[in-house]
């Protein structure tokens, strides 16, 4: 037993040892390899700020401060001391300018004997500039170099001055505009030459019959100085190193033509560092676009900080091509360079268009719009059938205004002028009171065709006029009354006693209206009038809208109190029209079955309970009328016009409670109603 145990553990031991100490049957080999990589970090210094470049890691490429890098750098003035400093600029493009005072324009001198007359135009105020005065100084030998260099000739805000009692010689003038902060412009220059007396006589003989003043005008004053054979090194472009700026930005151009916006100041400048120290003056002469003999000169003056030579020129306003010459002088007053080119002055398209609109179309559109809006909105349009009617309405309107302010006495209307065929009142109609055959008084009927005269005692006759109507009426001749009116007047004398009023109703015959013809084709007539009225309304409303839009544009481009007032008037027209239509609500009398309106029907209003006729009105050709009564209870009747100038009562309403005195809904009549 013990032996079995021994051999068991022995075999077990062997097995364990076998596995632990057996030689490895597979082989492996390995190799270690180092892989290296160098990463560097360097800027390309190409002057452009791109990608991950920032001012911190690539200061030569990126000039932004705290805003970080930009893939597309902005070029502009990066000097915070410049007047056109651009805080968003990444790269300086030498456009920094340090003075923004514009020069006077059209500075010229004319000689008159021993006097030199100077004239100029002061610069206009603009954003950042308030004009204060002009200071003119004079020197001999060369142009003044500053506002305090030379004899003071003028210092005020006018636009002309005279330098008197001068000896023969050449006088150089410089005019410096001054702003409210006491800063000066670079200087506009001109010169005047006083000739000796004998030479002056010769000059007079020479230019007899001509305008001799022009001899001293139109020359480039800088041409008087010799041009030595020395050239500025041209670094770039023709005008280089000079730059033309408008609104702080450099104008891009090639060749000798510089495109300029005529609405904006023009700055010509060059960096102080780009020109040699020996230079003294840079002069610019701009010639008139149409007359080369006229020219205006300026000098580019270095600013106080010695950063740039610059001159600011007022807006040209007139478009055109202006030849320009730039002269560079050394300290010996010798010209060492002269550059010639052309300023091509243009106005912006919008401004050109607006100038045309403002000058021509705008006033017409605005006025027409007002008139159309008032006419259509206040229901006048339907009453204007001729120019004469329009004239009468205008006269009446003025009369109303004068009456309202007490300049004209109002007359109480007592008589009515009306259409003998339709019985509708005529508005407007011109009524004259004649005395001894001559017009003594006149009146224009109101909206209800009424007129009134207050006459001194005497004998008068009346006369009525309206386009397309005949007076006296033949139709109702001899009748004292008709269905609507009594006390009819056709002709004859009227005796007016003390305190008496003329209260005659005057029928007038329509010339182009025949009731029988109308009755035959009532539907066609109604349709025609409806369409005509619709077209008229559309035209008038269209003109109103056009005028309103034009007025708004005028206000935007030329803001002023006047233009604001125009807008207020437009809005008032709309408001008045709305109010008018509310008060003069138009209702229609129509056939319930056919829907057709009942034209020229007489609508009478009776006070309920009393059965007393209060008012009557005749519908128009489209069966419409409006009537304003006192609030209360009424009933109305409708009488339809029949053949033979008779009327037949076709409707009587129930009692209506008119709380506002206005009928709110159309009157719809059943054809089979029995009255």
């Amino acid at each position: 037993m013990k032996n079995r145990h021994f051999y068991f553990f022995f075999v077990l031991f062997l097995a364990v040892a076998f596995f632990f100490f057996s030689p490895i049957l597979s082989f492996a080999e390995n190799d270690l390899l180092n892989v290296n990589l160098t990463v560097d970090f360097s800027c390309n210094n190409n002057g452009e700020c791109a990608g991950n470049e920032t001012r911190d890691n690539c200061p030569n490429d990126c000039k932004r401060t705290s805003q970080g890098n930009k893939p597309n750098p902005v070029r502009g003035c990066t000097d915070p001391e410049a007047v056109n400093y651009n805080p968003n600029a990444d790269i300086d493009d030498d456009s920094c300018q340090y003075s923004a005072v514009p020069n006077v324009s059209n500075f010229s001198a004319s000689v008159n004997g021993q006097d030199i007359s100077l004239s100029w135009n002061n610069p206009s105020n603009s954003a950042g500039f308030t004009f204060s005065a002009v200071r003119i100084v004079r020197r001999t030998g060369f142009f003044p170099s500053g506002p305090n260099d030379g004899a003071l000739i003028y210092d005020s805000s006018g636009e002309n001055a005279t330098d008197s009692g001068l000896s023969p010689g050449t006088y150089y003038y410089a005019a410096y505009a001054r702003n409210s902060r006491g800063e000066y412009s670079s200087g506009a220059v001109t010169l005047g030459i006083i000739s000796p007396a004998e030479k002056e006589d010769e000059d007079e003989k020479r230019c007899e019959g001509e305008n001799c003043e022009e001899d001293n005008r139109g020359e480039d004053p800088f041409e008087n100085f010799p041009l030595v054979d020395a050239k500025l090194k041209q670094l770039c472009g023709y005008f280089c190193p000079f730059k033309f700026l408008q609104k702080g930005k450099i104008i891009n151009f090639s060749g000798i033509e510089v495109p300029v916006n005529g609405d904006t100041e023009l700055t010509i400048l060059t960096s102080y560092d780009t020109l040699p120290e020996v230079l003294k003056t840079i002069g610019v002469t701009i010639f008139d676009q149409t007359d080369k003999k006229k020219s205006y000169s300026f000098v580019l003056r270095v600013d106080d900080k010695k950063k740039a030579y610059a001159a600011v020129i007022s807006p040209f306003l007139k478009t055109g091509r202006y030849p320009i010459a730039i002269h560079v002088f050394d300290y010996k007053n010798q010209r060492i360079s002269r550059l010639k080119g052309v300023l091509v002055v243009r106005a912006s398209f919008v401004k050109i268009m607006w100038a045309v609109i403002k000058k021509t179309a705008a006033p017409v559109a605005i006025t027409a719009g007002m008139g159309a809006g008032a006419a259509e909105g206040l229901f006048f349009a339907s009453k204007v059938n001729s120019l004469y009617d329009a004239y009468l309405i205008l006269i009446r309107f003025l009369g109303t205004i004068f009456g309202a302010v007490g300049l004209k006495k109002r007359r109480l209307p007592w008589g009515t002028v009306y259409d003998s065929a339709t019985k509708r009142p005529l508005d407007p109609a011109y009524v004259s009171a004649l005395r001894w055959g001559k017009e003594y008084r006149s009146a224009i009927t109101d909206l209800d065709g009424r007129y009134g005269f207050l006459l001194p005692p005497g004998i008068y006759s009346l006369e009525a006029k309206k386009t397309h109507y005949k007076f006296p009426s033949q139709k109702l001749s001899g009748r004292g009354r008709d269905e609507m009116y009594d006390n009819l007047y056709f002709s004859g004398e009227i005796t007016v006693g003390e305190g008496e009023l003329i209260s005659r109703n005057i029928p007038m015959d329509p010339i182009h209206f025949d009731w029988n013809e109308f009755a035959k084709d009532k539907s066609g007539y109604i349709k025609f009038h409806s369409r005509r009225e619709l077209v008229r309304a559309r035209i008038f409303n269209g003109v109103y809208v056009l005028g309103f839009i034009t007025a708004c544009l005028t206000l935007i481009f030329s803001p002023s109190f006047f233009n604001i007032g125009v807008i207020v008037i437009y809005l008032s027209i709309v408001a008045a029209s709305v109010l008018w239509r509310r008060k003069h609500k138009v209702v229609q009398v129509k056939n319930k079955i056919s829907g057709e309106p009942i034209p020229f029907a007489i609508v009478r209003f009776f006070m309920a309970g009393v059965n007393e006729e209060i008012k009557s009105v005749v519908t128009d050709e489209l069966g419409r009328f409006y009537q304003l009564l006192r609030p209360g209870d009424y009933y109305l009747t409708v009488e339809e016009r029949q053949e033979g100038d008779t009327y037949k009562k076709i409707h009587q309403s129930e009692t209506l409670h008119l709380s506002s005195g206005i009928i709110q809904s159309d009157i719809v009549i059943m054809p089979s109603e029995t009255i």
Binding site: S22, P23, L25, S26, A28, L33, N34, N52, E53
Partner: protein
């Protein structure tokens, strides 16, 4: 007592036998070592003009047996020499140097020749010593290449905001994972397009090449291409980055 002594003696007598097995040879002197021996009744090296034969008589159940998990070589003749060797290329520097401000890519390659006379072949695996592999320090590194799926990317692609490091093996014995069909990787029986099938290096062995037979005496070369890229907007600070790569050749 006597029996116990004999048992003890047998036990200790057997220890040297197993001890020699630890050293890989069964007998030796200062001049020789016998790797293996066998107790049998015959055999030896036979040869003619056209053959060499080494045979052993008297052993039972001799064979090479294999399964998925083991290779068993039974018998004296199976204990012949299995050797594997791997070349040692020089360290490489990826080029060109990358400007971390603007971005860019750098590449380099090294080739390993693996030679084995193992009739079962070999495997070659790659791993890095650190994660991420290419780094200056644990806080300044190139990320391991991001594979878009579960197999290597056929084309190298790094986003503009990333910095990555990867590799691709090329050679006749590359693993299926790195074989392609012109547009996708992991293609059994596929080809080996140049600069295709990019993968990330991890700190675990990944088999990049294998063979199922010996290739002695010429061996087979597997070239590993390395690539690092800084994306256009990534912004990488300056530095000297390095990765320690281990290639392990295993004879089967």
């Amino acid at each position: 007592m006597k029996r116990k002594f004999l048992q003890f003696l047998i036990f200790f007598a057997l220890i040297p036998a197993f001890s020699t097995s630890v050293y890989g040879y069964v007998a030796g002197s200062s001049n020789y070592r016998i790797q293996f021996d066998s107790v049998n009744f015959g055999g030896g090296l036979s040869n003619s003009a056209t053959y060499y034969q080494e045979s052993t008589f008297g052993e039972l159940a001799t064979n090479i047996n294999a399964s998925t998990n083991y290779n068993l070589k039974s018998g004296y003749q199976q204990m012949n020499t299995v050797a594997i060797a791997i070349s040692a290329p020089a360290d490489i520097t990826l080029s060109p140097a990358i400007n971390g401000l603007y971005g860019g890519a750098a590449t380099g390659e090294a080739g390993w020749n693996v030679r084995t006379d193992s009739s079962a072949g070999y495997t070659l695996a790659i791993k890095a010593s650190t994660d991420p592999a290419l780094q200056v320090s644990a806080s300044d590194y190139f990320s391991n290449y991001t594979v878009s799926g579960s197999v290597p990317d056929y084309s190298w692609s790094v986003s503009a905001s990333a910095n990555e490091f990867g590799f691709t093996p090329e050679g006749t014995d590359i693993a299926t994972r790195y074989k392609d069909n012109g547009s996708a990787c992991n293609q059994s029986g596929g080809s080996d397009a140049s600069d295709a099938c990019w993968d990330a290096i991890s700190t675990s062995n990944v088999t990049i090449a294998s063979a199922s037979s010996g290739n002695s005496p010429t061996g087979a070369t597997t070239t590993v291409k390395f690539k690092a890229e800084v994306g256009g907007t990534a912004l990488k600070s300056a530095g000297s980055f390095s990765a320690v790569i281990t290639l392990t050749a295993l004879a089967l």
